[in-house]
Every structure is written in C-alpha cells, then in structure tokens.
C-alpha cells in the first residue's frame, strides 16, 4: 500500500479512528494487524519473511538476555546475522552474485551456467532486516534492554509508517514508545502530524513525480539526447530522489505522530551541505548512522592507518545495500572516494552547520551538490554504458533539442525545494511553518494544496526506495 494511494487515504483514517477509540490495551494489537495488512497488500507471501525475521530476533534477543557465556552469545548473534543476512542474500543478492561470478568466469574463457532464482524482491526487506539486526546487535553489546513482550517486539519490526522505507529506527528509541500505551494526543501533534503528511506528499507528488518523466526521458535517451536534456535529467534526478525519499520520511513521521509515536528525522537539508561529510550527516541519516555504528566502527573506524580502507568498505557495502547491481557499488565507491579525499583536506573544509547565505560557502555547497549529482548518474543508470553515455553526452556538449518544460519545471521545483530547505534549516522538527504568522502560513497551506492538486492524479507512483 502506497502512502500516495487512494487505498491508504481510506486505510489511515480507519486505523486512526479505531486506534483512538478502542481501549488502550488494543492499541498495539490493532497497529500490528494494521501493519501486516499494510505490508501484505503488496503480496501476502512477503509476510512470511517478515515473521521469520521477527521471530528469530525476538528469540535470539531473549536468549541473549539469559546467556552469560561469551561463546554462546556470539553463536546467538551469529544466528541472527545468518538468518537476516541470509534472507537478504537469498532474496536480494543471490542472482546478482551468480550472474557476476558467471560473468567473471566468462572473462577467463570459462563457461558456467549458474542457477538463478525466479523471485521478486520483497518490499522494504533491506530496511526491516537492518532494523531488527540493530536490535540484536545492541542487545548483544548490552546497549539496549531485551524486549520480552512479543507483541511490542513484532510491532517494532513491522510498525507500518516506517516499515518499507525507514527511517531505520533503533530499539532504544522506538520500543519504549511502543511499550507504553499512548493515552492522549495533543492538538499541536495532530496539526504538525497533518502538516508533515501534506509536506511529504507535496515533495513526493509535486517535486519527485513531476520530474520523474523528464529523468526517464533523459536516461532512456542517453545515447541520443542533447547535453542540456541530459544535464536537466541528472539534476532532476537529484531533486526527484530527494523529494521522493524525504517526502516518504515526512509522511512516515506525520502518520506516526498521529499515532502518538515520534520517528527520527532522516534528512536535514542535505543539498545545503558545504562538503561531502556534511552531506552524509544529513542524507538518509538512519542508514548512515547504522553503517557507522554497525560497520564502520567495528571495522576500526577512525583509527589511524585503516580509516580510508574502512571508509571505502563501508561506502561500497552501503552502495550494495541500495541494490544488487554494480552501478550501486560504483556509486558507493565514488562516495567513499569523496569522503576519503575530504578527510585528507578536512582542515580546509571543516564539518559544521551550513549557512548557504555566507558567500564563502556558496561555492563549496555547489561543488558538493555537483559531486553528489555525478554520483546520482551511476545510481540512476540501469547499466554502466547508460551512465557513461549520459556523462559523455554532457561532457561533449552533444547537440539536441531542449525540452523547455523539463527545464522550467526543474528550475521551478528546484527553487521551491530550496525554499523549503532554507525555511527548515537548522529546525529540529521541520514544522517551523506552523509557527509563522497566519497570513504566511495560509499562503504556505495554499501552495501545498495547489501543488498536490496540480500534480496528483493518475496511478500512484511507488517510492523509489521501496525497491531497496
């Protein structure tokens, strides 16, 4: 079920009404059923994997709570890693690895027909496996309490607002909220929750979906499109993926807030970053902190000598997390390279809060944005040849007709997106608009409503990150 679908527009009010009218002891059972309905609406067979992951980590967590011996604790952690990463490996990466190995053998003149699986990728598999793994690792490390209530734990894994595309919540933050009955919801929570939903849908529908056809046009015509069309397509994809993913997060946070649950901020004006390190501190925060805590630091983190190797490994695997394709690995590697270079020259470009109105920050911000945009070419392209054709077309200033509608929309939506980010800059909750004077607030409401009316319609377009 998509947040931007008619089904969800019926589903959410029904859940909210039941949630706030039923006795409190029914809140979590209702949310769990609603979450399974929400997820099962894609394909009920996917629920089996979700249950497997939930059951494994619930039981492993409880066993870790009583296990004192280091060896046994390690074995239990290994079991969780085996099951969760096994699910990922089987359903997301199996064909990729087989095809890559076959291709490698062919390079050496050897012929091999490896088995491939005819499976579809379960929605959100990378998100919930990482979330439940984080719980088990934290229990193993003694950083979080064991959750004994199976209902609460199952809801932690399956909570529908963030189940399929995050934020990847930590147990310490989400489980205590789910364990306590939600007794009241304030007017301000309702208002800000609704505002976040409207803002998120606006970003998704009026920015991401509006630009999507022009991105598709540029990349599908990589070999023939003119350089302006290609450049517009690349920048438009940067806006599309930001609007799409941060819009999803806003809706998720808004829906959760209406249920009395607070989810973490996942994006904090990443395109206003003046260096790549800042970008990764503000882009998909729940994933970048997950990679930092459960991969980068265990690899050795910032310890002298290994830091560049650790950065590269983390970013390469982060790229692979996004999709089973070498283009994602290259995207991750490119960012690993950026981060390594920035680390070398960090004294010249310190990490810190961003102020794009300071003239000295404008150029570094633009450079960072363009480096990120270069990475998006590999992220969006279906093949390396498509990515290189896009870059070749731009670099050689290939002649071709200009789609002025695409350019106009890019400038308009880019400007609007920039305005939204400037307004929310350094704000903790992204609902600063609600504290504006009535007239300004009214204009903002009207812009959101007009954007949704003008750009909505037709079938709901799935969120990009669902495929990961």
């Amino acid at each position: 079920m998509l947040f931007n679908s008619f089904d969800f527009a019926i589903f959410l009010p029904v859940v909210l009404v039941l949630y706030w009218t039923l006795p409190r002891r029914f809140q979590n059972p209702l949310l769990l059923v609603a979450s399974y309905v929400f997820y099962g609406a894609w394909d009920w067979r996917f629920l089996g994997l979700l249950w497997l992951s939930t059951l494994t980590d619930y039981l492993v967590g409880r066993a870790l709570g009583t296990a004192a011996e280091t060896g046994r604790r390690r074995r239990l952690l290994g079991l969780s890693l085996f099951v969760n990463l096994g699910i990922l490996a089987s359903f997301k990466y199996f064909n990729f690895f087989v095809e890559s190995a076959t291709s490698l053998l062919e390079q050496f003149g050897l012929s091999a027909d490896g088995p491939t699986l005819r499976i579809i990728l379960p929605v959100g598999i990378s998100f919930y496996t990482f979330q439940t793994l984080a719980y088990t690792i934290d229990v193993y490390r003694g950083k979080t309490e064991v959750e004994h209530n199976p209902l609460t734990f199952a809801l932690y894994v399956a909570f529908f607002p963030q189940l399929v595309a995050g934020p990847i919540e930590r147990a310490q933050r989400l489980i205590p909220q789910l364990a306590e009955p939600r007794s009241r919801i304030g007017f301000d929570q309702v208002r800000s929750g609704l505002f976040l939903i409207a803002l998120g849908l606006f970003k998704k529908v009026a920015i991401a979906d509006a630009l999507a056809p022009y991105v598709d046009e540029a990349f599908s015509g990589a070999t023939t499109s003119g350089w302006i069309t290609l450049l517009v397509g690349v920048y438009a994809f940067g806006l599309q993926i930001y609007g799409d993913f941060s819009g999803y997060t806003d809706v998720a946070r808004g829906v959760a807030r209406l249920l009395g649950i607070e989810l973490m901020i996942n994006f904090n004006q990443p395109y206003l970053s003046r260096n790549i390190t800042n970008f990764w501190r503000t882009w998909h925060i729940s994933l970048s902190t997950w990679l930092r805590d459960y991969l980068y630091i265990p690899l050795g983190g910032n310890r002298k000598g290994n830091v560049y190797r650790n950065l590269m490994i983390t970013m390469l695997l982060g790229g692979l997390w996004h999709g089973a394709a070498w283009t994602f690995v290259v995207w991750g590697g490119l960012h690993g390279l950026y981060l390594s270079v920035h680390r070398r020259m960090r004294h010249k470009s310190p990490v810190g809060p961003v102020d794009p109105f300071r003239w000295r920050d404008v150029i570094p911000t633009l450079v960072t944005f363009n480096l990120v945009s270069l990475g998006w070419v590999f992220f969006r392209a279906e093949t390396f040849s498509q990515a290189f054709e896009v870059l070749r077309g731009i670099a050689t200033l290939r002649a071709g007709p200009v789609n002025w509608n695409a350019l106009g929309l890019l400038v308009g939506m880019g400007g609007l997106g920039l305005l939204i980010d400037l307004v929310q800059r350094n704000q903790a909750d992204h609902t600063i608009v609600l504290s504006w004077p009535a007239a300004a607030r009214g204009v903002a409401y009207a812009v959101l409503a007009l954007g949704l009316i003008i750009f909505a319609g037709g079938d709901a377009i799935p969120f990009i990150y669902f495929q990961f």
Partner: protein, 346 residues
C-alpha cells in the same frame, strides 16, 4: 481523536491560537480562489486538457461522436501515423459515390494491440462502417516496440477510457467531479508544462496535430523527402527495437478482424509503401526482418481469409515520401487513388 489537556494554554491564548488558525485557513482559501480565478481567465487560451491517451485520440473521439450523431461512416481507415498521413479520406470520398462518408481513425504510434481496443470500444460502435481498411507496416507487428507499448499504456490508463468502458474507479470519479467544478483541477495537465502554457498564452503553440474533418493529418503533405536523426533514433531505438514477430500483435490483429466482421463490415489489409532503401537498414536484421514481416502478413491473410492488398510498382520513389515511413502529397494522392480502385473493384 482525543484532544489533550496535558498542557492546555490559558483560554485566552487558546482562543487566539484558534483565531490565527482560522485566519491562516482564510488566507489559504483566498490564495486558492485567486489561483482558480487566474486559471479560469487563461483557460480559453490554453490547449484543452488531455483526458484520453493524447490530444489526437481526444480530437478523434470528438469527431466520431459528431459522425455518430449523423449516422456514422461508410469507410474507415485504421492504422498508425503511416495511415494518418498516407491516406486522404477527402480524396477517397470525392472518388466515391456522393454521400459516402469516409473517416481516418488511425492513431499515431499504434499497433494492432491498441487498434483492437480502440476499434472495439470507440470506432466501430460509433461509426458502424461497411468497410474497414487496416494499413500496416513492419513496425506494426513488432512485439517489442517501445513506442507502441507506451501509446497502448497511455490509452489504456486514460481517465476517459475508464468512463467509456464503465470501469472508472472512485478516485477517477472524484477527479472528474472536481474537474467539473475547478479550472485548476481541469487544467492541471497543462499547468504541469510551464513552457507549453507560456506558448499557449503567447499564441505561438505549434499545432502538430491539426486534423482534417475526416481525421487525416496533413502536416507532412507539403514536405520533401528527408531522414532526420530524430526520426532515425525513434525508429531504431523505439519502434523496431529487438524486432520480433512473436505472435502477440498478430493475435491482436486476428481479434480485430473478427470484431470488424462481427458487425458485418468488410476488411482489407494494406501493406503500406515505405521508402525501403532507408527504412530497411533501420531494422536490427535489415532485409531479413522486412521479409519476415511480409511473410507473416501473407500467412495471416491466408489463414484468416482476409484480402491483403499491396500497392503496385513498389518501391515507390523518394519524391513521394516525406520521410521513410510517411507519404507526401504526391504519394498520398497515388495511394488513395489506388486504394479506391482496389476497394471498388479496380
């Protein structure tokens, strides 16, 4: 939903906040009202909103609604742009007995899969023709054609088609109800294209789809032969890509023929003339693909007992084409005259 009392502000502050909220909503309504007024003001100068797959489909449905009110048509042409541009229904009518109504119901970029739906749902019920001429080229039977698939999707997904076949969803019904009330909603497909709106307002929109009263496109008739890089790219990468006659399009063609016969009309298939010297190499396997297409078409005609007509003296010279697929005025006159002779026992 219960309202909180945890940290209720003082009643005065509460009232003030509520008033501010109402004021904000009032401002939002005013802004929306201004947008609505602006949309209504520019509406007469904009292209009509696209409610079918594309504007051409929309215009043809409207034209056929008019013809249906007058009793339909005697002769109907079906096919893609090759028929749209290549046959002159006015000349055909002129050559026929007085009062013969001829209509070109071809749609750009179509293949038999879409033609089947288009004819069954729209054309045949409205026009009730006696004769249907289906013009085909090798691109028509490519099961992997991308532009053909895109056009099919546009038609199948269009809101008006959903209403036409009685399968409109609740969101589509809401959409239509809102469109009837609000110009912002009605014009949104246009407003999404800022440059198109700008051109509409300046009055400089190029009318690429100008149709004659009988549904034909005349834009290419005055052109001399030319192969643009855009045409080549479109044909190679979208129309003839992964060329394969796998049976999907042929099966759709068979169903289309059956549907036409079921209303008592005659069917004629025409293998449309193309500028072979330039068009053949655009196929992935060149001449082999074109030969496969012609063999498949002959076999289809035999199996389905349909008359297949091939224009005389092929290949026609470049002077009769605007591009490798579309005829110009000279070619249109020649083909239409031959077609009339063929269908009238010539």
């Amino acid at each position: 939903m219960k309202a909180t009392t945890d940290s209720d502000p003082a009643p005065a502050a509460n009232t003030k906040a509520r008033m501010a909220g109402l004021a904000a909503l009032a401002v939002a309504v005013i802004v929306f009202g201004i947008a609505e007024a602006a949309a209504r003001a520019i509406e007469p100068r904009l292209q009509p909103p696209v409610l079918w797959g594309d504007l051409e489909t929309q215009w043809k449905v409207a034209q056929m609604d008019g013809l249906a009110a007058g009793g339909g048509a005697d002769v109907v042409f079906l096919g893609s742009s090759i028929v749209n541009a290549g046959i002159d229904p006015a000349l055909f009518a002129e050559l026929s007995e007085p009062g013969t109504v001829v209509y070109d119901a071809a749609l750009n970029a179509t293949s038999p899969q879409l033609l089947e739906l288009w004819a069954t749902e729209i054309v045949l019920p409205r026009l009730q023709p006696d004769l249907v001429v289906i013009g085909l080229s090798s691109r028509s039977l490519n099961d992997h054609g991308i532009s053909q698939a895109e056009q099919y999707e546009r038609y199948v997904e269009s809101i008006e088609r959903a209403f036409e076949i009685g399968e409109a969803t609740i969101p589509q019904r809401i959409d239509r109800a809102m469109s009837n009330v609000s110009a912002v909603v009605r014009l949104r497909s246009e407003i999404r294209r800022p440059f198109a709106v700008f051109n509409d307002l300046r009055g400089t929109t190029r009318s690429l789809l100008a149709l004659t009263d009988q549904g034909a496109t005349t834009r290419l008739r005055g052109m001399e032969y030319h192969v643009s890089s855009a045409f080549r790219a479109q044909t190679v990468e979208l129309d003839l890509v992964d060329y394969q006659i796998g049976g999907v399009e042929l099966a759709a063609l068979a169903r289309l023929v059956d549907e036409i016969r079921s209303i008592g009309a005659r069917v004629l298939l025409v293998d449309m003339p193309v500028m072979e010297a330039d068009y053949t190499p655009m196929h992935p396997n060149g001449q082999a693909d074109l030969d496969a297409y012609r063999a498949a078409l002959r076999e289809f005609a035999d199996q389905n007992d349909v008359h297949l007509a091939t224009p005389p003296d092929l290949p026609w010279p470049a002077e009769q084409f605007a591009d490798p697929l579309h005829l110009n005025q000279s070619g249109v006159d020649r083909l239409t005259t031959w077609l009339w002779e063929t269908t009238n026992g010539g």
